[in-house]
Amino acid sequence: MDEEIDTRKINNSFLRDHNYATEADIISTVEFNSTGELLATGDKGGRVVVFQREQESKNQPHRRGEYNVYSTFQSHEPEFDYLKSLEIEEKINKIRWLPQQNAAYFLLSTNDKTVKLWKISERDKRPEGYNLKDEEGRIRDPTTITALRVPVLRPMDLMVEATPRRIFSNAHTYHINSISVNSDYETYMSTDDLRINLWNLEITNRSFNIVDIKPANMEELTEVITAAEFHPNQCNTFVYSSSKGSIRLCDMRTSALCDNHSKLFEEPEDPSNRSFFSEIISSISDVKFSHSGRYLMTRDYLTVKVWDINMESKPLETYQVHDYLRSKLCSLYENDCIFDKFECVWNGTDSVLMTGSYNNFFRMFDRNTKRDVTLEASRENSKPRAILKPRKVCVGGKRRKDEISVDSLDFSKKILHTAWHPNENIIAVAATNNLYIFQDKVN
């Protein structure tokens, strides 16, 4: 697929010119809404930035629907749990949009402990002509009022305001890693390391625990939940992935507590590949249903796998993301990179998969043609509106001109979060504190 770059460097830091990123600006989640009109990002500083796609205009056809900042707000603040003497990070772990039901937009954003429902609405009219206060807002002396008038709405500059409508707190002992909105648009679930809770979007003081894998004796803990998602169409079905590399599909109709799975997707481990780090690299970092609901995609440290819901014994397809790292696991363990949690996304038609890697590389796999491509999100290597050039990592032996060797990869530049527009070939790629938006080439 040819790509045209439309680069946005969104840096909320005051020090715009420097190369280093303040940690608060590191993007921690990226999500398109259901129409693709809005794109939300969350960062480590607890802020949410929402971009809106421009209306396509006939005057400037080459600026085909670019994304501009629409709203910025502080979603979460750092908190302190006095009981446990723990600081609660304000980092936004996940953002999920609700389907649009009126003029306002709603999204759920979560940090480690608290989920918040935000309403983002526009205001472009302002009432003028108050009786009791003047234009600047000062209270008028009632004795000076001789006549009454009805305030009228006058147009004003567009203002986008975000207000927290619901705060869902105190339901999770462990760190929340996922949220997922149900297709019934009434409920959603929040997932931490050991439990999954079901909420009604309207009710904040009660949630229902639907999965609990906490052992009676914590000494016996062997796995944690790493991600969970509702089925896109069936409101009773959801899946959750574990650190042991298995995925469980559960049906909420079977029982109130879905500890027993309906299906277990697991691939037996290859004994010849066993190493010190086998458990780490088999831990699933992300699980996503396909838009059709027929397939599941999972991401572990080195691969992306596609599973058919109807086949539990092994994945349908396995794609190697960066297998050249298999011999480097030791150093990746020492520098903590082996714990990085990469996400994965489907395109709108479920034919292409995308996931991130190191050195600001991200990979796409075409399921039909079985071709894959490695692209780079960096300003140095590409100019705006230029076509992205495929990159290649050379695994030893002679290095060709454009290739990069494994040892030259920059492991501090990792792409963990990416998003794909629900209908079009527009992708958003978060590279540390920068957001890149790429579109398909227009002929």
């Binding site: 446990k84 003497s85 723990l86 600081e87 609660i88 990070e89 980092k91 480690d112 002992t173 462990y174 760190h175 890693n177 390391d193 050991l194 009676a216 004796n217 914590m218 000494e219 803990l221 062997t222 796995e223 944690v224 790493t226 650190s243 004994p271 010849s272 590949n273 066993r274 190493s275 010190f276 780090f277 086998s278 458990e279 780490i280 831990s283 298999r326 011999s327 696991l329 030791c330 150093s331 363990y333 020492e334 903590d336 714990f339």
Partner: protein
């Protein structure tokens, strides 16, 4: 079976790296990350498995060598010339296997003799010299120095340094009869009467409290208890050679870490756990400590 070939660092370094990670996670912002610590504990467990396997392989090799040397000693009187040749062959096997995994053999040796650890066989004259020494101390457990003595220069055998080595053989029971001062070794069910109770005393210095008892099982029990403790002794010896690159961890931090690990994951999530878990943790910490076994003591040593 864990494939360690692709790993640049050995099991011991991995253990220390993992412990450092767990220790650092306690002070990280946002609280202890359960998932990450769980994964680190898996690496710790794998590294420990490999470490223990290597250790037991060493012991087995040592034991084999010891049996070979015993055979050599027994036929020594028959024909000195034959003995030298036999010994060369036997030690050739032993040293040959040492060549394959030099790090393990070398690791057992005193630091000062690391350099010539893996050498070609010396000429037969060098071989005969330490063997003469051996005839006088046949009841002594062969020390690691013997392992090399045919390969390189003669090493003056010291007495008590390697006493725990003697206790590695789980199938060997040594009994000192306090009345007759006769030392008896039961090996694989066969009885050998050894000499020199005094020498035996020296060898088994670590067991002196148990000697007071006349009963056999007193020795046996203390021997078994000694088995896990060989690790710290060994560790202290080759610490210099093996881990030049590892920074020594603070002792107080290590004991804290052990208390975390002693209570399993309850220790890790003690800040996050509900009240009832705190009780569970204390209840089970002893059990967990027992299961941790030798590697915990190994950590204490360094």
């Amino acid at each position: 079976m864990i494939n360690t070939m692709e790993c640049a660092v050995d099991a011991q370094s991995l253990i220390s790296i993992s412990l450092r990670k767990i220790h650092n996670s306690r002070t990280q912002r946002g609280g202890i990350k359960l998932h990450k610590n769980l994964l680190v504990s898996y690496v710790l467990r794998n590294a420990r498995q490999v470490y223990m396997n290597e250790k037991y392989a060493e012991i087995y090799r040592m034991q084999q060598y010891e049996e070979v040397m015993t055979v050599c000693n027994e036929i020594q009187e028959l024909n000195p010339l034959d003995l030298v040749e036999d010994c060369e062959e036997q030690t050739g096997d032993c040293c040959g296997s040492a060549n394959e995994s030099a790090s393990l053999c070398g690791a057992l040796l005193p630091v000062s003799h690391q350099a010539p650890a893996v050498q070609h066989l010396q000429p037969s004259s060098a071989c005969s010299v330490p063997l003469a020494l051996q005839s006088e101390e046949v009841c002594k457990a062969p020390e690691p120095s013997f392992y090399r003595s045919c390969c390189a220069e003669a090493y003056p055998v010291s007495n008590c340094d390697f006493s725990p080595v003697n206790n590695m053989h789980c199938n060997k029971t040594t009994v000192l009869d306090l009345d007759t001062h006769v030392v008896t070794t039961v090996e694989n069910g066969y009885l050998h009467q050894d000499c020199c109770a005094s020498l035996q005393q020296c060898c088994q210095g670590a067991q002196s409290p148990a000697k007071k008892r006349k009963l056999d099982f007193g020795y046996y029990v203390s021997e078994i208890e000694e088995v896990p403790d060989f690790t710290p002794c060994k560790r202290a010896k080759f610490e210099d050679s093996s881990y030049a690159s590892t920074e020594p961890l603070d002792t107080s931090n290590i004991s804290n870490l052990i208390s975390i690990f002693g209570s399993g994951f309850t220790g890790l999530v003690s800040r996050q756990a509900d009240l009832e878990q705190a009780l569970n943790g204390q209840f089970c910490s002893k059990q967990a400590l027992a299961s941790l076994g030798a590697w915990t003591r190994a950590i204490v040593a360094f």
